[in-house]
Every structure is written in structure tokens, then in C-alpha cells.
């Protein structure tokens, strides 16, 4: 029987993460153009009471830029993870229809997994002309194979489960079997898969942006902040890299923890 404790923990995690995300999104309205405001008299100022997390080379407040970067990463990561999960689920479902389609999907999965991730990301983002949309599509198109492989295996196993076959023998339609038996079973996998993809998506968005194939350098994305920080780290301006990096790490760990607890609860 399901124990209430993991579900309670997952619910608490979900509420806390949800509140943080809502706060992050709401902060963008409150911030206004603060992340872009330059103060040339306070260039590369270290963390202090006046400049909480310090400022960058153009005197822009790092706390505001980090918050804006996190919000941007959240949107990019969420959309890419959702798209990726939908691709994975659709292809896994397609693979169960016939052995030929299964072979085709398996080939596609193996091919994509065999190509170095970052090269594919760069090629797709470059082909699409860069920018937010290109990053989302590039990350979504390259991140589905691992999840698709898991979902495909689950679906194949589940379709052979006696209770699924018996459901058909009880006169239930394919649609009923799909939404009554298969999808509820796959939903936790999809949810956890999407949550696990999310940190990957954020990190790859940052990597693409860092390499110049992603978001515009004018946008306060975490990848842009980290790329900027690289130039100043040797000068002792540690806060430029530490705070955005730490914020990204906390976000990734938060979602990783949530996905772990949801997996236990579901």
C-alpha cells in the first residue's frame, strides 16, 4: 500500500518549488529594467550592503541579472523539457504499434545518442539562426532519446501485462486501455523524466549561450553571465561567476530533489 509520507514530502517539495517559481516569475515584473541599468561609478563592485551580490563590468546589479537569468533559464528549460517529453512519449507510443516502427524508432534513438550532444545542439541552434526559440527547439530535439528509450521499454512491458490484455478481453477499447491503464502508469515516468530533463536543458542552454550559439549576449541569461564572468575570474572578481553559478546549481538541485520525491510518491 502507498505510504502517505513520501506523498506528503513530495507535496511539500512541490509547494515550495512552486512558490519559488512563482516568486521568480513575479520578480520579473518588479525588477523592470533593473538588470539592464548601468552604474559606471560602481563597476565591478564587490558584494556589499549597496550592491547585494556585487556588480558586473558595466555596473549592473548582479542580483537582478541573476534573477532575470534564472527566470529566462526556467522558461527555456521548461519549454524544452516539455517538448522533449512530448516527443519521447509520442515516439515511444509509435514504437509499440508495429515491429517495423519499433525498429525505426530504435534506430533514431541510437543514432541521436551516438552523435555528440553539444555538436548536434550547436548545429541545430545555428541552423535555426540562434535566439531563444532556436535554443528551445535545439534542446528539445536532442534530449528526448533517453526518455523515449525508457518509455518505449515500459510500454512494451506494460502491453504484455496480464491486466492490460485482460482489459481488452473485457471488451474495453484501445482508447480505454491507453488512458485507463497505460498513460496513468507512464505519467509519473513522464513527469519525473521531464523534471530530470529540465536541469539538463538549463545547463545546455547555458552551454550553448556560453559558446555563442544560443541566446543573445544582450539577454541576462545565466549562460551569458557565466561567459562574461570567465573573462574577469582571473582578476579576482569571483562574485561574477559564483553567484549566478550557485543560483543555477540551487535551481537544478531543487528540481532534481522534486523529481526524486515525485518518483517515490507516484
Amino acid at each position: 500500500m502507498r505510504q502517505p509520507q513520501p506523498r506528503l514530502r513530495a507535496a511539500i517539495s512541490l509547494v515550495v518549488t512552486g512558490l519559488l517559481v512563482i516568486g521568480l516569475i513575479a520578480s520579473q515584473w518588479l525588477l523592470g529594467d533593473t538588470p539592464q541599468q548601468m552604474q559606471f561609478e560602481a563597476r565591478l563592485a564587490p558584494p556589499s550592503v549597496d550592491h547585494w551580490l556585487g556588480t558586473d563590468a558595466l555596473g549592473r546589479e548582479l542580483w537582478a541579472r541573476t534573477l532575470a537569468g534564472l527566470a529566462l533559464s526556467f522558461w527555456v528549460g521548461s519549454l524544452a523539457a516539455i517538448l522533449s517529453t512530448l516527443i519521447a512519449l509520442s515516439l515511444a507510443a509509435l514504437a509499440t504499434l508495429s515491429s517495423r516502427l519499433d525498429a525505426l524508432v530504435s534506430l533514431l534513438i541510437d543514432t541521436l545518442l551516438s552523435v555528440p550532444h553539444l555538436i548536434l545542439l550547436m548545429l541545430i541552434a545555428f541552423a535555426l539562426g540562434g535566439g531563444t526559440q532556436a535554443v528551445i527547439i535545439a534542446v528539445a530535439v536532442t534530449h528526448w532519446p533517453s526518455l523515449a528509450r525508457v518509455l518505449r521499454a515500459e510500454l512494451w512491458q506494460l502491453r504484455q501485462a496480464p491486466y492490460v490484455r485482460m482489459s481488452r478481453a473485457f471488451g474495453k477499447s484501445r482508447w480505454f486501455v491507453l488512458h485507463g491503464h497505460l498513460l496513468p502508469h507512464l505519467l509519473p515516468h513522464c513527469l519525473v523524466g521531464a523534471l530530470l530533463l529540465f536541469p539538463h536543458a538549463i545547463l545546455h542552454e547555458a552551454a550553448l549561450t556560453f559558446l555563442g550559439f544560443g541566446l543573445s549576449p544582450s539577454q541576462p541569461a545565466i549562460g551569458v553571465l557565466l561567459a562574461d564572468a570567465m573573462r574577469y575570474l582571473s582578476g579576482g572578481y569571483w562574485w561574477l561567476g559564483v553567484f549566478p553559478g550557485l543560483a543555477l546549481l540551487l535551481m537544478v538541485l531543487g528540481f532534481e530533489r522534486l523529481s526524486r520525491q515525485l518518483r517515490r510518491a507516484l
Binding site: 500500500m1 496480464p162 491486466y163 485482460m166 482489459s167 478481453a169 473485457f170 502508469h185
Partner: protein, 204 residues
């Protein structure tokens, strides 16, 4: 009448499990099948219920092929009830997947009201098997393939389950194929019995 005619089946090439096995099950008839492990008893049961397609021969119901849709008139009951139910569904939903049994039928099979709100994991094997057997007795069902359904149950639960099934089958003239290792059980339940060996059915 449920008829298996010259059924042949193999999982691996060159290793035939069933070789031209024939069997007839009439309404209200109880037929027993015994055999060693791996002899193909369950495969025969699944072929009769339409879960597997024969590689040669045919399974017919009143001279026609088994229907492709709707509640299947031949229902298969597996040994492990845990595998026969969706672990995410409550017992009430499981029970009513095929049809809605009356309170009297629930009582006859010893189902308790308090089980209905539970998840299957919280029921014992015997309790869950009762649920599965009753679930399979939809009005459209005419034949049952009981594949070792009482093997994992204690003697008292076995007796209760078979008594309830006997009563229901007699009322509705259900034909029942009992697959078991237990010769004594088959002797008690089934006037007609076969031993499956080498892919062939031999009366005993």
C-alpha cells in the same frame, strides 16, 4: 461449444509445445488438464481464450472464430491475481471493469464491502483471486479457463472459491477448463480430464 481443433504451437522453432491437440468444451462442462511444468497447459489455456494465436489448427466457438471485440465469451484466469489487476486501481474499480456484480454475487464469492476502497496490494492472494474470478463472470462469458487459480491459496480458501464458482457455473451453464497440477482437485471437480504431455492430450 468451444472447440480446439488440431492446435499446434511453438515458442522456439523446432521445439513444439502443442502438436495437433484437440479439445471440446460444452456448456456446463468441467474439463481438467494436468501436465508437467512446461508441458504447455497455460499455452493451451491462452490459445483457447484468444490470448495467443495458434500456428496451426483453430479455436472456434459454436463453429465460428472467437470474436475480435466486446466482452470475450472465453475468459482466462491466471494463477497470480496480482498480475491480473491494475495496481493503481481500487478494488471497486477493478471489480467493475467488465461488469457490475450484484451484492448477492459478491457475498457468494466472499467479497467484503471494506475491500472495495482498498488498493489490490492490501488484499491477500486469496481475497484478490476471489475478486478476479468474480470480475471474469460477466453475463456475456460462457467459458472460463481457470489456470492454476487455487495453487497459491490455503485449503479453506480453495474450497470456498471452487464452491462459489461451481454454484455460479451451474446456474449459468458455464463451461470451465481447470488447469492444475493437483490430480486430487481435478478428480473432484472435473468428470473429464486430460493429461498434456509431448504436445498431446491424453484422457485419464
Amino acid at each position: 461449444m468451444l472447440k480446439a481443433h488440431q492446435l499446434s504451437f511453438q515458442f522456439s522453432p523446432g521445439v513444439p509445445l502443442l502438436q495437433a491437440a484437440s479439445l471440446t468444451l460444452s456448456a456446463g462442462q468441467w474439463v481438467g488438464i494436468s501436465g508437467d511444468s512446461g508441458a504447455g497447459k497455460s499455452t493451451l489455456g491462452k490459445l483457447l481464450a484468444g490470448y495467443l494465436a495458434p500456428q496451426a489448427g483453430s479455436v472456434t466457438l459454436d463453429g465460428a472464430a472467437l470474436p475480435k471485440s466486446g466482452v470475450q465469451p472465453v475468459q482466462w484466469l491466471p494463477q497470480s491475481p496480482e498480475l491480473a489487476v491494475n495496481p493503481r486501481w481500487r478494488v471497486a474499480k477493478i471489480l467493475r471493469e467488465a461488469w457490475t456484480p450484484s451484492n448477492a454475487q459478491c457475498q457468494a464469492f466472499g467479497l467484503q464491502e471494506k475491500w472495495l476502497s482498498r488498493l489490490p496490494q492490501s488484499l491477500s492472494g486469496g481475497e484478490l483471486q476471489r475478486v478476479c474470478v468474480l470480475r471474469a463472470l460477466a453475463p456475456e462469458v460462457r467459458f472460463l479457463v481457470a489456470d492454476e487459480i487455487s495453487t497459491m491459496l490455503d485449503p479453506i480458501t480453495q474450497v470456498e472459491l471452487w464452491q462459489a464458482l461451481k454454484q455460479e457455473a451451474a446456474q449459468r451453464q458455464l463451461g470451465v477448463l481447470v488447469i492444475s497440477h493437483d490430480s486430487a482437485l481435478l478428480e473432484r471437480l472435473c468428470p473429464q480430464r486430460f493429461h498434456l504431455s509431448g504436445g498431446q492430450l491424453t484422457p485419464w
